[in-house]
């Protein structure tokens, strides 16, 4: 049985002349245990799709089956309980509560489940250990680095042992080393049996995925299975210098992607020509 089954999902924002079609009749099936990367230019509808899959938003049209239940038209409270028990979210901007320390943030979903306070602390402590920031339990979010914050956010997403983890650009605010650490962490979680969907602009990160879905203008334009450890074929195209850059894309994030590519290139160059550099300095 598939974990996620979307059929003809559309999402329209606004009314009349001002309306825009963010998702255009999307059908997508994701099996248990998949590690799906979602790519596509800014405004292509990736976040909208994640929000609908995560029950944060409702589709305008179409049917959605999550874990054998039809969930496209749930009441707010039913959706809340499914989010609590079945889905873990990781956001680009971490979305931790600044007023709470890390362990309280991580255990917050358990509050809504009615778990006793001592048990909450125990579980949160275990998870923080697992994501490798147990020494930061009693720190507040403003005292942590981006990578540590995202680790805490992942810990919070994991605390209810959800079947599905949705990460919308989890590395979007992180430097490349932290990005790698966070992806390694997600991989580990994936190995433990979770289904993970993540959005990324960085083709490099498709190495971690088992499947890559490409979106454009609210539609899925490509869907490929890819072996672990290798950059997906279509994503690799993006790394070629011949990549056509539209103005819109460069405005809205692909420039970030290009910077990353530049870094990767320069790293290769350094490896190739260390001696030359020394010589030229002399």
């Amino acid at each position: 049985m598939s974990l996620i089954k979307l059929e003809g999902i559309s999402k329209i924002f606004g009314f009349g002349d001002a309306s825009s079609l963010a998702l255009d009749s999307i059908s997508l099936t994701i099996e248990k245990g998949e590690f799906v990367a979602v790519m596509g230019p800014s405004g292509s509808g990736k976040s909208t799709l994640m929000n609908i899959i995560g029950l944060l938003d409702k589709p305008s049209q179409g049917s959605y089956m999550l874990d054998n239940k039809y969930v496209a038209r749930l009441k707010p409270n039913q959706a809340a309980k499914i989010r609590r028990d079945t889905i873990g979210f990781v956001f680009q901007s971490y979305n931790l509560l600044n007023r709470l320390n890390i362990i309280s943030n991580v255990s917050l979903p358990l509050v809504y489940k009615g778990v006793s306070s001592s048990r909450r602390l125990k579980l949160a402590s275990d998870i923080l250990e697992r994501v490798g920031i147990s020494e930061k339990e009693y720190f507040y979010p403003n005292q942590l680095s981006g990578g540590q914050l995202q680790s805490a956010a992942i810990a919070r997403a994991l605390i209810n042992n959800p079947k599905l983890i949705i990460a919308d650009e989890p590395t979007g605010n992180l430097d490349s080393i932290s990005s790698i650490l966070i992806m390694e962490l997600l991989t580990e979680i994936h190995r433990a049996g979770n289904t993970i969907i993540f959005v990324t602009h960085n083709p490099e990160l498709t190495r971690y995925a088992s499947r890559v879905v490409y979106m454009k203008d609210g539609s899925i334009v490509q869907d490929e299975i890819t072996p672990y450890g290798q950059i997906a074929k279509t994503a690799k195209q993006l790394l070629k210098p011949s990549l056509i850059r539209t103005e819109e894309d460069s405005l809205a994030g692909v420039s970030v992607l290009m910077k990353t590519i530049d870094k990767i290139d320069s790293r290769k160059n350094k490896k190739d020509k260390p001696k030359k550099n020394r010589r030229s300095k002399k």
Binding site: G54, L56, D57, P76, A80, R83, N95, S116
Partner: protein
């Protein structure tokens, strides 16, 4: 909702309230003032009621009656029995004959005339130009809640010697530190001997007519003597043993007969009088409480306001909480906990303020407000209820936010 979640909301609410304490301080001021004024008003009402009880029916008021020429309901507009004397003109006074006549009635255990004279009263060191002299008899002691500190009360009807009993304050004013027992007191040019001094009497607040602490008590016969039979009886205090109904009706017809068959004397049960005055007091307390409650409503609206601001400021937080699985009810609970803590804090400060105000009233007036523990509990409870009522609109507003819209706001 499970208790652990409530505790968690509770801790966080305290933290949030502490962090925004200045804004909150101004907000709860309305609750503080409203609640402290309601508590103070009710406490004053309680205090006055207790004092009336103490003076009028220290013992059972069921068998005590007042005979007077004016119907109680016409004359009692204020808070106490003595004040009604103002309304009675001397021409309508009762005849002394009634006293003798009634005393002989079956089942009548005592009757005291109550006559008030204004006269110059002089002691050994000072005099009082407008002294209050009460002409009565020995039964007054049983009827009113007064007692003798030293010496004795007016001994018996027809006391041949000119004996007088004086109130505590008057004794100090006219005689100073030395006990005036046995000393001579001059009442309107007549010499009396001080035979007794009263214990301090708890006067009813607002009663300026008769202050027992500043009065001289003499036998009614002597009052007649020094006024050449012009000591008018304003009221008579009657105590009946048994068979009340029958005794009362025969008394009433007796009184009507001697007054030329005009029904112009009235016999009223004491409990009815204090009931009446308590009713008036209750009504007054209610009216003022309603006015004070308006300030509570203003306070509640203040709480609503600050909670609406808080909800707006924390939209993103609400989004996060919903994303990780908070139901609408859990969000409502969170904000209700916060608003009720806020108004409860206001309530506690208000109650404390009421204690301070009452202390001030005790020190500066004759009123002794009584704050009962029930009043404190009700006040505290009401403050929580105000928080819940006025917090509900902001809380529902918070819960109704769509998770994705809330998350998107920053």
């Amino acid at each position: 909702m499970k208790p652990s979640a409530i505790t968690s909301h509770f801790k966080l609410s305290l933290d949030i309230i502490y962090n925004t304490r200045w804004r909150n301080f101004w907000t709860i001021l309305g609750i503080v003032i409203g609640l402290s004024s309601v508590v103070t008003i009710i406490a004053i009402g309680n205090g006055i009621k207790q004092q009336i009880n103490y003076q009028l029916n220290g013992s059972s008021s069921q068998n005590k009656f007042i005979i007077q020429p004016v119907a109680i309901n016409q004359s009692y507009s204020g808070t106490n029995l003595i004040k009604s004397l103002e309304n009675i003109s001397p021409t309508s006074s009762l005849s002394y004959l009634d006293v003798d006549g009634i005393q002989g009635f079956k089942n009548v255990s005592s009757i005291s005339p109550f006559s008030i004279l204004k006269s110059k009263v002089s002691g050994s060191i000072a005099s009082d130009r407008n002294g209050v002299v009460i002409g009565s008899n020995q039964f007054l002691l049983n009827y009113l809640n007064i007692s003798v500190n030293s010496g004795s009360f007016i001994d018996q009807t027809g006391d041949p010697t000119n004996s007088a009993v004086i109130g505590q304050n008057l004794a100090e004013r006219l005689f100073g530190e030395i006990s005036p027992l046995g000393a001579t007191i001059d009442i309107g040019g007549n010499s009396f001997v001080v035979e007794g001094i009263l214990n301090p009497v708890n006067n009813i607040p607002f009663s300026q007519i008769v202050d027992f602490n500043n009065s001289v008590f003499i036998d009614y016969n002597n009052a007649q003597k020094i006024t050449s039979n012009n000591a008018y009886i304003y009221q008579e205090f009657l105590t009946i043993k048994d068979n009340q109904k029958q005794t009362l009706s025969s008394l009433q017809s007796h009184l009507n007969a001697i007054n030329g068959n005009q029904s112009n004397t009235f016999i009223t049960n004491l409990s009815e009088i204090s009931y009446n005055s308590k009713n008036t007091l209750n009504l007054l307390t209610k009216l003022i409480s309603i006015v004070a409650s308006i300030s509570l409503i203003v306070g509640g609206v203040g709480i609503m306001n600050v909670m609406l601001v808080s909800v707006a400021e924390r939209t993103h937080e609400i989004g996060i909480r919903k994303a990780i699985g908070a139901t609408n009810r859990q969000i409502v609970t969170q904000f209700l906990v916060e608003s009720s803590i806020l108004s409860f804090v206001g309530g506690i400060i208000g109650i404390t303020l009421a204690y301070a105000v009452d202390l001030f009233i005790v020190l500066s007036t004759a009123i002794k407000p009584v704050i009962t523990w029930q009043l404190v509990v009700i006040a505290g409870f009401s403050s929580i209820v105000i928080g819940l009522i006025f917090g509900s609109i902001p809380a529902i507003k918070a819960a109704k936010k769509l998770p994705i819209d809330a998350l998107r706001s920053s």
